[in-house]
């Protein structure tokens, strides 16, 4: 398969520009790149889910300008998406066998064959799952295994895996790799999207790195080492300025967490934030970082442990109590959790604080709302025409500024940011980071960045906690740790 000069834009944001990618038969190719680098978009174009604005895709020597999903499947392209694309309401067996049956244009279902095929597919990756169980009853890792088994069942020429190992244990990953190599021997090409370095070097023959929607390099994994790989991924050898606030440890901490735990989420989490600090919590998908972030904001009530703000212990069991105690939370998924996209910028910005922006009789004081919106828009250099525009007309970076402004509006004492710059362009990213530094310098707020972006955390947080399987496994000062060490700590499997 060969992708030539493919470009794609969404609402004015160039997601991909003139990207090339070549995968030979039986090759295991790794596609790497940071958040927002265009990996997912490229995959969706290859699978026919999106249509490219320009460029061609060649599969098995056949050129396509506009590839459809059906054509893609016919040509043997199989994708395992990050969200697995499984049907929660169907059984395991059917989930595995359905896509293949659709592709073969069958009209009737042969249940005996469905179970046969499902078993066969699971055998290929050496895994046992309850075939009659409905998928909604299963764990996330089981869902992933189903997605993998499903793709393997199909006569695939090219198997695309979008970060397939995030929810798997080491043992399961080993199984998966064995299966992948087995497929490779049969001449199946595998496009493996991952940013776990160890895995990339373990399994891939070649790699391609994307950054900001453009090709950076394509090479053999034999020719580079870890350090160089990270250099390509991030675009700089690491010499950026590190955030180093003046923190006097004599002061009392602004925010403390002691032995926080939540079943199936995380356990025994303790840390404290001193005035002027920005701390980072870093971990892979499924490490429990998101659950922790949500618990700090009351979206899940932690089952054990204590939360202290200043020298007062507080109970946080809902966003309402969290806001009462001046905790703000910039969520992971801006589009579904952070904004009501159809509503105006002004409303999105002022909603968290609206109860204190009113006159008597619960009447909204629109003068005050206007004033504050204008204030934050200037403070954060938000680019907009009008505060009455619906939020969906903004670019990702500006949308994130709106979410941030929403929390600045409540004058927070604690600000938790979960993946604050996902899908944000470089300029806005810079603005946001700078603003956080300024904010920290007021010494009146505790800022916690939760992320899987090593560089972001390293640059912006003076102390970093690594989260792995629901626990803090290490603590570093940003001046005393390298990216490689952090990555190694994050991906360590025991």
């Amino acid at each position: 398969m060969k992708v030539t000069e493919v470009s794609k834009a969404f609402g004015g944001v160039q997601a991909l520009s003139k990207v090339n990618l070549t995968i030979k038969k039986g090759e295991i190719h790794c596609l790497a790149g940071g958040n927002g680098s265009g990996k997912s978009t490229l995959i969706k174009i290859i699978s026919g889910f999106y249509k490219a604005d320009s460029g061609t895709i060649q599969i098995n020597g056949k050129d396509y300008q506009k590839l459809s999903t059906m054509e893609s499947i016919e040509q043997g392209v199989q994708v395992i998406y990050q969200d697995f694309s499984v049907f929660p309401n169907l059984t395991v067996a059917e989930n595995i066998a359905l896509n293949d049956a659709v592709a073969s244009k069958k009209k009737l279902v042969n249940w005996k064959k469905v179970y046969q095929k499902a078993e066969e597919a699971l055998k290929k990756i050496n895994i046992v799952l309850p075939l009659h169980e409905k998928v909604e009853e299963l764990s996330v890792s089981d869902k992933q295994l189903i997605a993998i088994a499903r793709a393997m069942l199909h006569k695939a020429n090219l198997l695309i895996m979008d970060e397939p190992t995030t929810a798997l244990t080491r043992k399961e990953i080993h199984k998966l790799f064995t299966a992948i190599r087995h497929l490779q021997k049969q001449g199946v090409a595998v496009l493996f999207v991952s940013h776990k370095l160890d895995e990339v070097f373990e399994i891939a023959d070649n790699f391609t790195i994307l950054r900001n929607g453009q090709n950076v390099i394509t090479d053999s994994t034999k020719n580079v080492d870890h350090k160089k790989f990270i250099y390509y991924m991030t675009g700089r050898s690491f010499d950026a300025e590190l955030f180093q606030p003046e923190v006097s440890q004599e002061q009392k901490p602004l925010f403390q967490v002691k032995g926080l735990g939540l079943e199936n989420g995380f356990s025994d989490i303790s840390f404290s934030v001193y005035p002027g600090e920005v701390i980072g919590i870093i971990g892979l998908l499924g490490s429990g970082r998101t659950e922790l972030a949500m618990a700090l904001f009351g979206l899940y009530a932690a089952e054990t442990g204590e939360i202290w703000i200043g020298d007062k212990q507080v109970t946080i069991d809902s966003p309402i109590t969290a806001i009462k105690h001046k905790i703000g939370y910039v969520p992971e998924d801006r589009l579904s959790e952070g904004l009501a996209l159809g509503q105006s910028i002004a409303r999105n910005m002022s909603i968290a604080n609206i109860d204190s922006l009113c006159k008597k009789g619960n009447q909204v004081d629109f003068d005050k709302v206007d004033e504050n919106v204008l204030h934050w828009a200037q403070e954060l250099s938000l680019v907009m025409q009008n505060a009455q525009q619906p939020a969906h007309t903004l670019s990702g970076g500006n949308q994130q500024k709106v979410v941030l402004a929403k929390w600045l509006e409540i004058a927070p004492k604690v600000l938790v940011l979960n993946g604050p710059t996902v899908g944000v362009d470089v300029g806005a990213k810079h603005d946001l980071h700078n603003y956080l530094h300024q904010l920290a310098a007021t010494n009146e707020i505790a800022i916690i960045i939760i992320s899987d972006d090593v560089l972001e955390v390293l640059e912006n947080c003076n102390r970093i906690f690594v989260m792995n399987h629901g626990r803090f496994t290490a603590e570093f000062k940003n001046t005393e740790v390298t990216e490689q060490e952090l990555l190694a700590e994050m991906t360590r499997q025991e």
């Binding site: 699978s47 889910f49 999903t69 059906m70 499947i73 994708v79 998406y81 694309s85 499984v86 049907f87 929660p88 309401n89 169907l90 059917e94 359905l98 896509n99 049956a101 659709v102 592709a103 069958k106 009209k107 009737l108 279902v109 249940w111 764990s139 996330v140 890792s141 929810a167 244990t169 080491r170 043992k171 939540l262 079943e263 199936n264 989420g265 499924g286 490490s287 429990g288 659950e291 899940y300 399987h469 629901g470 025991e494």
Partner: protein
């Protein structure tokens, strides 16, 4: 483990309620487990049973249609009217075919609008239902027709069997059209269980994006579902006229809510993806029993509405509440137990 799952299913509770209600009625009146009562129930099940098959399919796919009673009535009325005006003497097959085709066309209109506008199907079909009904009452000036075309009269006098009740001295007959219900149920079961299209309906209701990625043509499935509902409604409308022995063009007004209630009671989730034929039949049976047999219990009929409402709330509330609690808890994001073993 198996039992635990059973307790979580709506069908289980509906089944228990049906059994309890039957025993209660039997004790109170002694008239439940009699041949003629069963025949009466079977007869009363024909129309709701047939219609709920279509409604269930729609809800499984994540859609809904409230215009089908209007489709049924309009198809029925038009067919009867046309047959009368040409003094039709031929086979019933043609009349059913005609009525079904009319329904199909209207159903496809619904489908096209739902696919195109991407607005809630409830609102769209509310609008089209209003159009169909308005068309029948205003343009066609529909009114009750007491004397049906001859083929229909013959069919409505055709019975499969008759049950006598010695104690009450009455007898009930099971009309021939009961066979239609059996056929509709059999076809639906087959479609949903053994065809790729049927599985596509479940897949669509389960996850629309995943359904598309699997290679299904989502719009085609939707067109099929709404078309089928229309055709089924057209067919059932005429069946109803045969059953009643007269053509009452407004007799199905408000029936959509009864059918949706029956389907949901039978364990079909309104959010789509889940539903079984036997569950739906049980839901329809329970509602039929309440409206038919409550009087045998000595409960005045005007309580039936109250009981229906209560059943809907309890039936949907239980599973909704379970789902809500589940969402509040954390699902195991990573395999904790496995880790301990390693």
């Amino acid at each position: 483990m198996r039992f635990k799952k059973l307790f979580k299913r709506n069908e289980f509770y509906v089944g228990i309620t049906i059994v309890a209600l039957s025993i209660l009625i039997q004790i109170r009146s002694g008239q439940f487990f009699t041949g003629n009562n069963f025949v009466d129930l079977a007869r009363a099940m024909i129309i709701p049973g047939m219609l709920t098959m279509g409604v269930m399919m729609q809800i499984i796919s994540g859609g809904i249609d409230v215009s089908f009673p209007a489709i049924a009535m309009l198809s029925m009325y038009t067919t009867v009217k046309v047959a009368l005006s040409i003094d039709f003497q031929g086979s019933m097959v043609f009349m059913f075919l005609f009525s079904t085709m009319l329904g199909l066309v209207m159903g496809l209109m619904n489908g096209a609008l739902v696919c195109w506008l991407k607005l809630p199907a409830f609102i769209i079909t509310l609008g089209t239902g209003s159009i169909f009904l308005g068309f029948m009452q205003a343009v066609l000036k529909s009114r009750n027709i007491g004397i049906l075309p001859k083929p229909m009269r013959v069919l409505s006098k055709t019975y499969l069997l008759t049950a006598h009740n010695e104690t009450l001295g009455i007898s009930s007959s099971l009309p021939f059209v009961f066979i239609f219900l059996i056929v509709a149920v059999a076809l639906t079961s087959f479609l949903l269980r053994y065809t790729m299209l049927g599985r596509g309906i479940y897949a669509l209701g389960g996850d629309r994006d995943a359904c598309q990625r699997a290679g299904y043509n989502v719009n085609a499935i939707q067109m099929f579902i709404y078309g089928t509902m229309g055709a089924l409604a057209g067919f059932t409308g005429l069946t109803r006229a045969v059953l009643m022995g007269s053509c009452q063009p407004t007799s199905l007004i408000g029936y959509e809510m009864t059918c949706i209630a029956a389907v949901v009671l039978g364990g079909t989730r309104i959010s789509g993806g889940h539903g079984t034929v036997y569950g739906t039949l049980m839901g329809a049976l329970l509602l039929t029993m309440i409206s038919n047999s409550l009087i045998l219990l000595g409960v005045p009929t005007y309580w039936s509405k109250f009981v229906t409402g209560l059943l809907i709330i309890i039936g949907t509330g239980m599973s909704a509440y379970q789902a809500l609690q589940q969402r509040k808890k954390l699902a195991g994001k990573y395999p904790v137990e496995e880790e301990k073993q390693v």
